[in-house]
Symmetry: D2
Subunit: 395 residues, 4 copies
């Protein structure tokens, strides 16, 4: 393992060395007051990143998948109704989890590459007169397809239907990289992980609960212990966890939050947008198309790129790793073999992105695709150059 | 945070710097074949540490508590009977988890400081003619009381009763530090974590399943997704996880296993025994008593030390942290305020242990206990010196 | 300090993280036998990199400049004659050092961009009938101009003149990256540092002495203590230094040598050549010229690139740092403002190099140079792609 | 190499991990303005540690030995007179360096274990009517004998003799750990290194020059280039070095200075005094004597401890390393075999020191010395305990 090149998988992202060092601090006594000096800034910082004044934040030694389970098991009871759209691998998996936990999911099948169908949601919710649906699932950014959905529209659908269901949002690959508005959008549970926008290793599930979601924990009958937010909350009241906390990762999260908030969330989002837009211009210059079907859906954290019919997109990932020691993302599920993915989130610069685009081009030419070397790179350079100018003006 | 002194909490332990560096490796593509080169040695190494030929090993981004939940939810159905003894905080919590998951626990209340009552187990099991009890819980090493129980005796109880219940063992604070025999003892699920004998940060639940336990996963009805060993196993077949794996921690685990197996498990156990015995001699020299009621119960990873009536044992921990920047463990639950704990597991030397004993003495004198400075240290020195001689002969 | 982008200064180079970790190991007792296990592999490994069977290797806590001083003060006496060519900043500085130490230097002024004038050397040496010239200086790779000289030709000049002068070679920016043949070329003192081909931080002067050079130490009258190779040699005989050794840096050197020798020196050289050739093709595509006047002089570790008349080349370095957080090298001395330099040595991949070329292009366009975005990158890609193919065949 | 136990050699010291991490930063462009942000705080911070308002500070990639050479070669000419006392290995070596550089040293032989003989100095200086003596050497803290000398008294001797000689002070093992007053004592050149009070790896020579010493550089005729403070000073004026600077070590020095100045110099000195005094009480409890002949000479950074006649003190160091993996210092030169040394400087706590004393006791008993286990430890504990009380009151 050489670690010389940046990675371009859509998470875990490239990690600043300072964050890695913060993560692997020596052992402290997690029952001492020292731990509170790590815990509390984490809770407060995550709340700011969620743009919430009042969300209760919980951090588990787990991953985003554990965050989904936290959302479900703390608020719902067996047989409860769920409304969800399936438009990618991650929305699919969350639906599957619901079913395995005995929830009754109304699935709105949605073509992969499209966003959440807020209008369909509204229809279904209006039809649910007796409010059997207790929660609506919404994947903010489908990591499998590079599609960003409009969560505000989902909230509007709920409101238009005057439906009391909870709104659960998977923000795993958006939070910390793209704008997320817990309070404005009326989110009830937001779920994310450490390994995307927070630039940390995988290992933390990070969730935010609204007051309404907290209230639901009192009646929820799904069994849970490890992921029980009530135990966790009681622990926090004593600057502690109900079990051994992942102190190092949380110390890293504390630093990550400092870095993001020091840079300024809007600047962080603008940086992600700039780098992503360069990638999209490169894709266009290559004559290829994104999986996301329209510009309003383009994700600023990951681009899923369709390759021509008859070409196995996974080969790009294989050859890039084998011949150039560079990691891109494969297509998953329905779009396996049809797309490859470029992650462009976390700790990244224009220069790093150029190396990713440069290698992608070489690989595509190696594999016989009709792509011109330098074409995508120069399209990105042209865009970044103006970004550079903008940076100059700002400085 | 100064990190100059070793810690003497019973986990997370002192971590070798090489292990921390292995943990904080840069990001790799966890879907690439590189990950298999971390995963598979981990699975194989853990199996060796468990002294098993055939246990299926699963590693979750979680903690020992998540390991308990993995054991229960993968093998049991709501209403299933459980037999467990409560003889400390950790056995208590596991029982509580069972009850929260709708299991029907027969609790054998056992004085804190005593070991698992294998004879009572046998009685209860014999009485359970229709085998309503599906699993027997056994805490190998009660971290709260410093009591090591006889798991072989529990197995004999099961066998004597010809009872088919599964045997679940919590080896969180024993595995990797004290002898553990998965196969010989007929263990069905063994549970541990990363932050004790493996000298890693908290963040991994590590479990081993017997064939019989694997078979039980097919019929178990308790809901689970994050902790589902079937999904995990399918992932492993492709050198992958069902979700983002904690690559760095597992890379650290790989190194830890190399270190433990290179040193030799029996040497590792002997080292823990030697250091622990020095601590016990110091305790005796101080005129104090262990919480563990008899020598066969003495744990080689943690000593819980009773302080005189009317003295708040927690003060020792508070003053050690405040005045000497050293961390010991407080008493938990029933023995809160009555004991303080010295952890002596993981990455530790005789010299480091002397500094812990030296500080403990100073604190006890500071707090007015009738302890002579140097008394415990010299008792330990005397013992370690002969250990030193043994080491010389061995080298 | 963000450390996200690679650096493209001609040293210190990008450092593998494993090497940095080896460098900053905790303290050991440098008077204990442990130190010998670091020292001796370093001496042996450096000898292999020099392609010498018998050179005495000495390592000082210093830099290449200290290495020059070591060469001079250990072998020469005040008033001794020196023959040297000045064809760049570093040859200039070594000459200056000679003069400050009271040596009598015959300087062959040589245009910057040209190589060492072996023919002139032969002439001067032949004319030096009474052998007043005691040493000939030769800069193998002029870091200021990106010019690699032919050391074998200098040796032939000495031989042709039947002149007994010692041959001192500055290999600071060549050794470990380009072929160097201490024995074949009859080198008497080779000088290098830690921060170039060895991929370490600055802080070590590394020199090799021939038997003839060692003999000269017996009569040399220039004063020296810190840099005295006799003291150092006596220390080595006891696995020690005459003063506190830079243990960590040497531990890093040990790892670096392992890495270089494991990769294979010829593979290391081929890698440097491949990356360098890609840079040269980019330069050509930009319509620019190298400072080095002919292909046989092209350095595989650094390219000095001439910019058009009237353009201040230093602006490229300034803007790259300011707007793109990327470090290139400025022109030094005679070519200050006329060239900028791209370092391409040490720990580097094709992909990293593409990011350097990509940024250089953006900066040149920003500054109004007539360069086409993507032109240099695509020229390099085309070349690297075939290198990639070659790698595939080799694997 | 296990790195679990602290080291007790009198430097390099135990290093805080944060300092090591600062040292192993990735590569930056040392010719960019970023370097000035490391360099200038270093110069300013060292000046504060020297308690000087105006000393010119110079930092070389070298060691204390290089610092000695810097002092001599920048201010003196061949044949110049030097006055020095030889009372230990380090004063001996500095004298030897003078002689090798053609200086004419008047040596005042002084028993090892005694301090600098200021009265003899005064006598010699008064007798030197024509001021042939250009510099007086004074070793502030003889690391070989654990003897701290009175530099103010040496200054008084110079003043009493109205002698214009420069005063050079070796503060390698005192500066940053014990009080040092460059201005008050009228020091002209102070010499130290990175690996003692600054808690860094070896690799920096750090010197301070008075105005008078700077003036002497203009006429000094000893040859120097690498160690030339004029070149170095010119470099600093441009935030640069005359050659490649040891950026990482200097980044570590910057952090070290922040840590020392944040703690407060007087607190740092008090901490060293407290820990040292505990060691001295332990020595007394063992029935042994220090090499330093009277309490006013006791060093707060290192204790050299005499062992009984006929006993080889070096055995203690050998056995401690072999059987307990702990490093102490051997006796050097005249006191080789007669003393062993305990270093107690740099990053150290009371608890760490107890582990060193505890191991020393075990080794002495192992080797048959008439020492009672726990005797020294308890003497130190008794003292540290009151220190602890003091700390409490202060907090």
């Amino acid at each position: 393992m050489n670690f010389q090149n940046p990675v371009f998988i859509p998470g875990p992202t490239n990690m600043p060395e300072a964050i890695r060092q913060a993560c692997y601090m020596p052992t402290i006594d997690h029952r001492s007051p020292v731990f509170g000096k790590i815990l509390n800034p984490c809770l407060e910082g995550v709340r700011k990143v969620l743009k919430s004044d009042s969300a209760r934040i919980f951090i588990f030694p787990s991953t985003g998948t554990g965050g989904w389970e936290t959302a479900l098991t703390n608020t719902l009871s067996p047989g409860d109704g769920i409304l969800a759209a399936r438009n990618g691998m991650f929305s699919h998996r969350w639906i599957d989890m619901c079913q395995r936990h005995g929830l009754d999911v109304t699935v709105v099948e949605t073509p992969w590459g499209e966003g959440l169908p807020a209008e369909n949601y509204e229809e279904v919710l209006k039809a649910d007169k007796d409010h059997r649906i207790k929660a609506v699932l919404a994947t903010h950014n489908e990591t499998a397809t590079g599609v960003k959905s409009d969560i505000a529209a989902v909230r509007r659908a709920l409101d238009a239907a005057r439906h009391p269901a909870l709104l659960f949002v998977d923000g795993v690959s958006s939070i910390g990289s793209m704008d997320f508005r817990f309070d404005d959008w009326g989110v009830d549970v937001a779920v994310t992980g450490s390994q995307k926008g927070f630039m940390l290793p995988a290992g933390l599930a990070i969730v935010g609960f609204s007051d309404k979601a907290m209230k639901a924990t009192e009646t929820a009958k799904l069994p849970r212990t490890f992921f029980d937010v009530r135990d966790m909350g009681k622990g926090y009241d004593n600057n502690a966890f109900p079990y051994t906390p992942p102190v190092g990762l949380m110390n890293g999260l504390k630093l990550s939050l400092d870095m993001l908030l020091d840079e300024g969330l809007e600047n962080v989002f603008a940086r992600h947008h700039r780098i992503a837009e360069g990638v999209r211009r490169a894709v266009r210059a290559w004559g290829l198309e994104l999986c996301a079907v329209s510009p309003d859906l383009y994700s600023d954290t990951v681009s899923a790129i369709r390759t021509p019919e008859g070409f196995n997109a996974t080969d790009i990932v294989t050859v890039a790793a084998r011949d150039y020691d560079m990691a891109f993302g494969v297509g998953l599920g329905e779009v396996a073999g049809k797309v490859f993915r470029i992650g462009h989130l976390g700790s990244l610069t224009d220069a790093m992105m150029l190396s990713g685009l440069g290698v992608a081009e070489m690989v595509m030419v190696d594999l016989g695709l009709d792509v011109k070397l330098g074409s995508g790179v120069s399209a990105a350079q042209e865009f970044y150059r103006h970004g550079g100018t903008a940076r100059k003006a700002a400085a």
